[in-house]
């Protein structure tokens, strides 16, 4: 890896009461690349994101973003780091007493000095990108769960962030919509070149988007590999995950290909 890591988790541990959730997580996120975190429900994927966002402090270990330890910096420095973030929460966390339009416009209004006209242009563009025209004046309670996700995505991308965090961006979307979202990710990332950290259950589709895949199991990142390596990994835990999520057929196809290559 020649690119430098923008985010590093070093031996991060976190327990709630007697429940040990993270048991020494090590993870490096490479600049400009997409890292996908996968793993079973309740394993602590969202919790890892919350550590990186500085919302939760680890019991021990370090979380470094741009080389700075989040638990050792001042509130102002943390805020400066967060200026680079675009975040989609698992539950979208929209401001429920604001319309869809105002939700997406809020970061622009609070963080920039753009005129309302300019804000309108950008917001309309982002809403169109997420296929949300016509819902501008609805409130979060009046739109569907999948639409809320897309509003959250529009809000996360509205300031052209350097690092994006998406917690299950396509959960609750139909296949066509989630494919469209993946296309949007691909397009925006190739334009903006942001670093992406995505938590997803959408294996194998998400692997097409991923540069690196990390599997969280039993409070430890088993390994962080490229999608190809991931699918062929010898690690028994990863092997089992790949088999259960993609089916034995998927792996055996590749193995057959390998076999064929070997034959020649």
């Amino acid at each position: 890896m020649n690119a430098r890591p923008v985010i590093q988790l070093i031996d991060v541990r976190k327990s709630f009461g007697s429940q040990e959730v993270l048991r020494g997580v090590n993870l490096s996120v490479v600049e400009g690349k997409t890292t996908v975190i996968v793993g079973g429900s309740g394993q602590g994927k969202s919790l890892i994101l919350k550590h990186i966002l500085g919302l939760v402090k680890p019991d021990s270990g370090q979380v470094l973003v741009y080389g700075k330890d989040l638990s050792r910096i001042s509130g102002r420095e943390l805020q400066e780091i967060r200026m680079n973030f675009g975040v989609l929460f698992q539950n979208a966390a929209l401001f429920d007493s604001m319309t869809v339009y105002d939700n997406v416009a809020l970061p622009l209004r609070e963080r920039t000095r753009l005129s309302e006209e300019e804000i309108r242009r950008i917001v309309t563009e982002k809403l169109e990108m997420m296929d949300l025209e016509g819902s501008e004046n609805k409130y979060p309670a009046q739109i569907s769960g999948g639409m809320r996700k897309r509003v959250g995505l529009a809000r996360a991308l509205v300031l052209n962030p350097k690092i994006v965090f998406f917690d299950e961006p396509t959960t609750g979307l139909d296949v066509a919509k989630s494919n469209e979202i993946y296309r949007v990710f691909f397009r925006t990332q190739s334009i903006l070149g942001y670093t992406a950290v995505i938590v997803s259950h959408d294996v194998p589709k998400i692997l097409k988007l991923a540069d690196y895949v990390a599997l969280l199991h039993q409070g430890v990142i088993q390994d962080c590999l490229t999608p190809e390596e991931f699918q062929l990994s010898d690690n028994p835990v990863i092997k089992e995950y790949v088999e259960t999520t993609m089916g034995a057929i998927y792996t055996s196809e590749i193995l057959e290909e390998e076999d064929e290559k070997d034959r020649y």
Partner: protein
Amino acid sequence: MLRLFEAIGGFFLYNVNQLGRLGIFLFVSLVSIFKPPYKVSPVIKQIYVIGSLSIFVILFTGAFTGMVLGLQGYNTLKKFGSEGLLGSAVALSLIRELGPVLAALMVTGRAGSAICAEIGIMRISEQIDALECMAIDPHKYIMAPKFLAAVISMPLLTAIFDVIGIFGGYAIGVGLLGANEGAFFSSMYKDVEFDDIYMGLVKSLVFGLLIVWICSAKGYFVHLERGGGFGAEGVSRVTTTAVVLSSVAILVFDYFLTSVLI
């Protein structure tokens, strides 16, 4: 036995902790008021929510408080043959004491509970986390306009309460019971001094701060509540506590402010 000590220790630790939290919360919020950018429209919106929407209840309670003062005052003063002092008795008790305290209690019930519930819901639905992750300071964005609005609205609401109360006292004392109209107003002009107005003003400012401070901080820290602050029930519980705590704080501070200012 050991468990008893543990419980007592836990209780004190929790409360010392909470006090520290609340103190830092107040400090950070007040400092954030002075940080740019300065936006007027959120403050006006909060003045509407905290101030304008409370006017009706203030008018109503103010009128009845004044009326009962007129009634009680007239009958008591009559025993001493000094009905002529009714005007100053009604005005002084309203301006120095009842106006600020009752107006503050009314605002606690109306706006304080609303503030606490609003912020509590924002906390449990991760909206505050979302703000923080967007590098928007929740203190600046949510709390600062509320503090400013309270400091602006409370004295005005108190003034409305006082004026309506004095007219209520006038209506009952002079209109119904037949006290002398001239004496009512002249005693009032003579006895009410700037110090009295000043005391009322200081009290209303402090109470305004107290209400917003306690109610918004309680909502803001709902997730850290002892015994778990979860979901709708957590918010409802913390709202009740916030209203009770603000009311108690208002009465306690009233005593100390009076003893300092008198």
